[in-house]
Symmetry: C2
Subunit: 421 residues, 2 copies
């Protein structure tokens, strides 16, 4: 019987492992709790009505349809029997493995304040994105009908917590939506009066970038109309707004881009984890004491970037997935030597609204409109398939030239009658 | 003060009235409970993963952004105070009118069996369509994991109740999905074994078409692999399947395309209605006793088609909206003569899968692939805006040439934490 590889998670890491194992004599079972692979770097554009959901998501089984060695299962993992080498699924089924790859990513985290989640949703899934889009657009709609000035101001105040790339990209996109795309659509309110407030606990936004790019992004965001509050930790989120430092701010839309927590992979398999739930893996990406289990991507932590932790970005997960695939192939050829993973950083990118970006590839730094075009080309290049590249390029060119966002839909608001399934 | 027109419903009828009133000295308030206008004729394509939601829906306020005379409100109507001429909204607000246009459409109806709705959803809104898409795709996913043959067969049985255009289009699209698009994506099941059963109570499908086109559609659907049951009323829908005639059929996906019921417009205003809740309007489309209230589209009934009832299709609603706009303009010029509405039927169209259609324009009848292309061109022509025409044309050409459906996303499954709004 062929060597059985079970891969849990069809994100960047899991798919890279599948790809790297092509042509190998293994049978692969690919398990994910969603039926689609998601291009998370563009998720904020779904949240801000620039792209449609289907433009950045692909059904997993469609992606691997030509790989007869891969069986795709839609299922929720409930545990891992490391003794008998089997993954346990929610319907009572099991998936036996010889080698297991855990690549289940992360969710947003609230630093011990999970009660904030209903008021300050994060952005990790398609559902998160359509829910955020719904909140943003509904707040403008409600403001149009609101007569009380204070309540109207709260409806037109948008708070983004966290000044990393996601926070910066959300803030810039909402500012453009409010200040450029929507004004002519409303009669009773002036959407240009909307306040977009970005709150960052550290001393500067985009801390993973160099200081000059970070300063440029700061100025560019302010020029778009974003208010930036630095050195301010958020101490409360509720239905009235936020409290940061010792100041309350009335706001009906709060978005969380401040922290992540790993999936439960470490819990399932009883593996050692850090404070954020990430499995501490060995230099070859295996779980301690389990050479047959690899943990990769956002759900693992390893100091493999010149002694620093590998960042939680798509290229890192991909490199780890490819590394795991090569290790499995070597082992199948009888070479059991430990293969140490080393991360190669290709760069940092972030957009500031729809006309500017900052890029740091190390050998070259870019900012402004030229960086925006470079950012766009890089992202279209990394999308999967001609169809989606065309669709996203069309959407961007349309917004760029007409200022009209096509995906301003408020959906998912009503609950359907309880479905039978 | 300018004459105040309140239009409730931004479907085909409501928008046609807005359009017809351009350049008139009136102030218009356009109220809808959703923020988007929906191109319902293509909704089944969202339900069967051919098109994305944003390709057939447009934010209402974006459509009318250049009409400074139109104020758009997202709101739910709870009643109409016909004495004081005001529309009552769910937030306690009111909208005063001099002329009121009710164009609030219809929902699916279960002939006194509302308890069937959770098991047999209908297709009227974007949420309906994504929910149906979710059910269809999840059933294949569950079948792939199911080991019991009987349960697997039930998961692979799709029942469509109602043989009108919507039922025929759904059945054809699901048959193509199962028999042509999905087979190579599954490893444990053969999706070509899926049964698609179309149940129609009358003696033939597409009863609004001529008998020869109806017979052609019957044969064409069977060639796609659809089983057609005629003269069979459905007597039960539950989580096990359906009972039709005296035969039970185990099926996990049941779709309802068998009947509609008007919105509550007649109830709000205390107007006389027929058994399906449709307001019986006067020959000029006004409500009896209320010359200042017009009721149009699917929520009204009138025998204005050479003595027959006007059909519940988009062109009829549009003609009524235009008629109302012209009547309002005449009245404002002091001409109070009753203007009788006469419906002009332009034709019937329905697709059978993605390669054939039947068209009856009266002066010409078409069927087969040429009719499919004509159907496609007609529908792209009636879409709003260059952007969506391009997007839909791209999607169709893609499916036509590659057989890959781009929108196979399972979303909306998980409930988010209770939102604050």
């Amino acid at each position: 019987m062929a060597h059985r590889v079970v891969i849990v998670g069809a994100g960047f890491g899991g798919l890279a492992a599948v790809q790297g194992l092509a042509g190998t004599d293994v049978t692969i079972t690919l398990i994910d709790q969603r039926n689609h692979h998601l291009f998370q770097p563009l998720l904020y554009q779904v949240g801000t009505a620039a792209l449609a959901t289907s433009e950045i998501a692909w059904p997993v089984r469609h992606l691997v349809r030509k790989r007869k060695d891969v069986t795709t299962l839609l299922g929720v993992v409930t545990g891992i029997d490391t003794q008998n080498r089997a993954v346990l699924l929610d319907d009572g089924g099991t998936s036996a493995y010889d080698t297991l790859v855990l690549a289940t990513g992360a969710r947003h985290a609230y630093f011990g304040h999970d009660e904030w989640e209903p008021y300050a949703p994060g952005l990790k899934t398609l559902e998160d994105a359509t829910s955020i889009r719904r909140r943003i657009l509904l707040s403008f709609e409600r403001a149009e009908r609101e007569t009380d000035p204070a309540r109207r101001a709260a409806l037109l105040t948008f708070v983004i917590v966290g000044g990393g790339p996601t926070g910066v990209e959300l803030a810039g996109a909402i500012a453009e939506l409010a200040h450029q795309n929507l004004p002519q659509e409303y009669r009773r309110i002036d959407t240009r009066m909307a306040r977009i407030v970005l709150i960052e606990a550290g001393p500067r936004i985009l801390p993973s970038f160099t200081e000059d790019l970070s300063a440029y992004a700061h100025t560019a965001l302010e020029r778009l109309g974003v208010e930036i509050q630095l050195g301010q930790a958020v101490r409360e989120c509720n239905d009235q707004g936020v409290v940061y430092g010792d100041r309350p701010l009335a706001a009906k839309v709060i978005l969380w881009a401040a922290g992540v927590r790993a999936s439960d992979a470490a819990v399932w398999a009883g593996l050692p984890a850090d404070g954020a739930g990430r499995t501490r893996v060995a230099p070859d990406l295996t779980a301690p004491g389990h050479p047959e289990i690899f943990v990769i991507g956002d759900t693992a932590t390893i100091n493999a970037w010149r002694g620093k932790p590998v960042p939680g970005i798509a290229p890192a997960a991909k490199q780890q997935g490819m590394h795991v695939a090569r290790t499995i192939k070597m082992r199948l050829r009888g070479n059991a030597a430990q293969r140490i993973f080393r991360y190669r950083h290709s760069g940092n990118l972030a957009t500031i609204g729809g006309r500017a970006a900052v890029i740091d590839f190390g050998w070259i730094k870019m900012r402004g409109w030229l960086a925006w075009w470079a950012w766009g080309l890089v992202h279209i290049y990394f999308l999967i398939g001609v169809r989606n590249r065309l669709a996203v390029a069309l959407s961007w060119l349309w917004i760029y030239s007409t200022g009209s966002r096509n995906a301003c839909l408020i959906t998912q608001g009503e609950q359907r009658p309880t479905p039978p399934q």
